[in-house]
């Protein structure tokens, strides 16, 4: 396996009956980075996490976490990972502190160490006021933080977060993002799945799009947006300008069709890249004598990447699909 990978898988396959949840997954996650798995429901994200966290055995292929085989060295892997699943996994009848001490002891920490570690994490995640209340009385955000604290008890080298912010309010979500960033900065490798593309965009160093349990595109957020999303340009033409003239002048910069909204006097088009064309566009409009009253650029979003990828991977198109990958060391363009 390659040096510096906290996680490495080769042709990982997992079937549930006739459903292939993982269809030959090849992953390599750099130690200390934040890696996001995206994809439609059922694309295999959770199965991938559960396999890496030693909860299910793959049918084929190999997976290494911290260089250890998840099947043959499962016990060793478990000492080095923390897992937070999609749903809160604490005992509601126990208090927050009791939960943490219990999980700490099950990680193998001696009693006193487990207690000290629980107190540290309670402080750090702002749960001190609620620490002795039963966990079932916690709000969604508090329960998520308790979950995360439980995953961090043994200072794991690799942290798995399966949809960590689903159902959280925006403030709790931002707080959790901050926590995750801090962990990665301290050297923890974080692998997360999410339904929120913004979350992946804001957090992840690299993103892999899964479909049918394998990667269909991988790269940094900027790389993916550059490859699969388009930048859009909106030009609003002044009251005395000729819309058709303007549309004609813009036509040669457009990828695809030029849309003309006569009522708003707005012309919209997709362009290849802002740096390359903006000044030429201005000159062309000037040359055509079209007055411009408003000019806006829209950066591509991961939503566009997601939509474009899911469209490409609809069953009919799937056979001809090639895996798109960017080398990890390529410089970010955003």
């Amino acid at each position: 396996m390659n040096e510096g990978s906290a996680i490495w898988t080769e042709n990982l396959v997992k079937r549930f009956g006739s459903v292939k949840a993982l269809g030959g997954l090849n992953l390599s996650v750099k130690a200390g980075s934040i890696f996001a798995l995206l994809g439609r429901n059922g694309a295999g994200k959770t199965t991938a996490i559960r396999t890496l966290a030693t909860l299910i055995r793959p049918d084929e292929g190999r997976a290494l976490v911290c260089g250890l085989d998840v099947v043959r060295q499962a016990a060793e892997v478990r000492r080095r990972i923390g897992l937070t699943g999609q749903f809160s996994a604490v005992d509601g009848a126990l208090s927050g502190r009791e939960n943490l001490v219990m999980f700490g002891r099950l990680y193998g920490l001696p009693g006193r160490r487990a207690k000290a570690r629980a107190s540290e994490l309670i402080e750090r995640f702002g749960l001190a006021a609620a620490a002795s209340r039963p966990a079932k009385t916690y709000s969604g955000g508090m329960r998520r933080r308790l979950d995360l604290a439980a995953a961090l008890l043994a200072s794991p080298q690799v942290l798995f977060l399966d949809e960590p912010t689903t159902g959280l309010d925006p403030a709790s979500r931002t707080q959790l993002w901050e926590d995750v960033r801090q962990l990665a900065a301290q050297g923890t490798t974080v692998v997360l799945t999410t339904q929120y593309l913004e979350e992946a965009d804001r957090l992840a160093d690299r993103i892999a799009f899964l479909d049918a349990g394998r990667i269909v595109a991988e790269g940094s957020p900027a790389e993916l947006k550059a490859a699969f999303g388009n930048e859009r340009m909106d030009v609003t033409v002044g009251a005395d300008g000729d819309l058709d003239e303007a549309a004609r002048a813009l036509g040669r910069f457009a990828l695809g069709d030029v849309a003309v909204d006569r009522e708003a006097r707005r012309i919209s088009l997709n362009i290849a890249g802002a740096e390359a064309v903006v000044s030429s566009v201005m000159r062309a409009l000037d040359g055509a004598g079209v007055p411009v009253s408003r000019f806006t650029m829209h950066s591509p979003t991961l939503d566009e990447v997601f939509l474009s990828l899911t469209k490409r991977t609809e069953p009919a198109a799937r056979s001809s699909l090639d895996v798109v990958e960017f080398p990890a060391d390529r410089k970010e363009v955003g």
Partner: protein, 274 residues
């Protein structure tokens, strides 16, 4: 890379000690529920308590035990039935745990895996002890007077705990096999009442028609109840004790491995949260 930072790793201590600690930690998890979720004990005592009163004051007068007073006769039946019904609590609790997310987290921890199962039955045994002592006290108030020696009394309570322990594993396997908590609830109960009523629990089997008696005399519940009764009433018990113990051991030999198998199978094949 693999071993970097291993000094900070949680230690895996001596294997056997680790098994004990993990079992204790997970037993404690269940024990703190006993005072915090009083419904658990309340549910476990309400049914036998109402049976105790119902049979003592409503049906009992019409039943001739051919020897001991009716309240003395039926106490063994109530105690064994209650210990057996305890299996349904194990069953429901286990199904809840497995269908919830806690089990998932526990499986991702470097702990001794059977501790999760053992912790539950250990705590259930403590609950059985509390309920048994409570019922003995309640029985005393309505006229139950055991005729046994102290040793026999201790043996009688120990037998109830052994029965409860054995049937906890039956409930455990059922809970692990159920696909929903509701299914676990009905599965945990459905077989208990027919099996305990068609036995010597509440009436001497000699009063039953021949064909029914044939079943009642030769089913394990009767063996368990007869052994318990003989201990409580100071009748020669040794010859009836060994079938009762044998039944429990047999149940343990089948249902402990079955539970462990079902637990491990659940771990590796559930696609529920795909």
């Amino acid at each position: 890379m693999a071993q970097s930072g291993s000094s900070a790793l949680p230690s895996i201590r001596n294997g056997r000690l680790r098994a004990l600690t993990d079992t204790w930690v997970l037993t404690k998890r269940q024990l703190v529920r006993i005072p915090r979720v009083p419904e658990l004990i309340a549910f476990a005592t309400f049914q036998p308590l109402s049976f105790l009163l119902l049979f003592r004051y409503v049906f009992g007068g019409a039943i001739d035990t051919g020897g001991p007073s009716y309240v003395n006769y039926m106490m063994a039946g109530i105690l064994v039935q209650t210990a057996v019904i305890g299996a349904s609590a194990t069953c429901t609790g286990m199904a809840e745990d497995m269908l919830g997310n806690l089990a998932e987290r526990l499986r991702s921890l470097p702990c001794w895996r059977p501790a999760f199962l053992l912790g539950r039955v250990a705590a259930d045994t403590v609950r059985n002890l509390i309920v048994t002592l409570f019922l003995l006290g309640a029985g005393w108030l309505i006229g139950f007077r055991p005729a046994c020696s102290l040793e026999e009394g201790v043996a009688a309570v120990a037998l109830i705990l052994l029965i409860g322990f054995a049937f906890s594993w039956v409930g455990m396997a059922m809970g692990l096999a159920s696909r929903s908590v509701e299914a676990a609830q009905s599965m945990g109960m459905a077989w208990v009442f027919p099996l305990t009523f068609l036995s010597s629990a509440f009436v001497p089997t000699a009063t039953m028609p021949y064909w029914l008696r044939l079943f009642a005399d030769h089913q394990p519940m009767t063996w368990l109840i007869d052994a318990e009764r003989k201990l409580l009433l100071d009748q020669p018990a040794l010859s009836s004790l060994w079938p009762a113990v044998a039944v429990c051991v047999l149940i343990l030999l089948v249902f402990i491995p079955l539970s462990v198998f079902l637990y491990e199978r659940n771990s590796s094949s559930s696609a529920a949260r795909l």
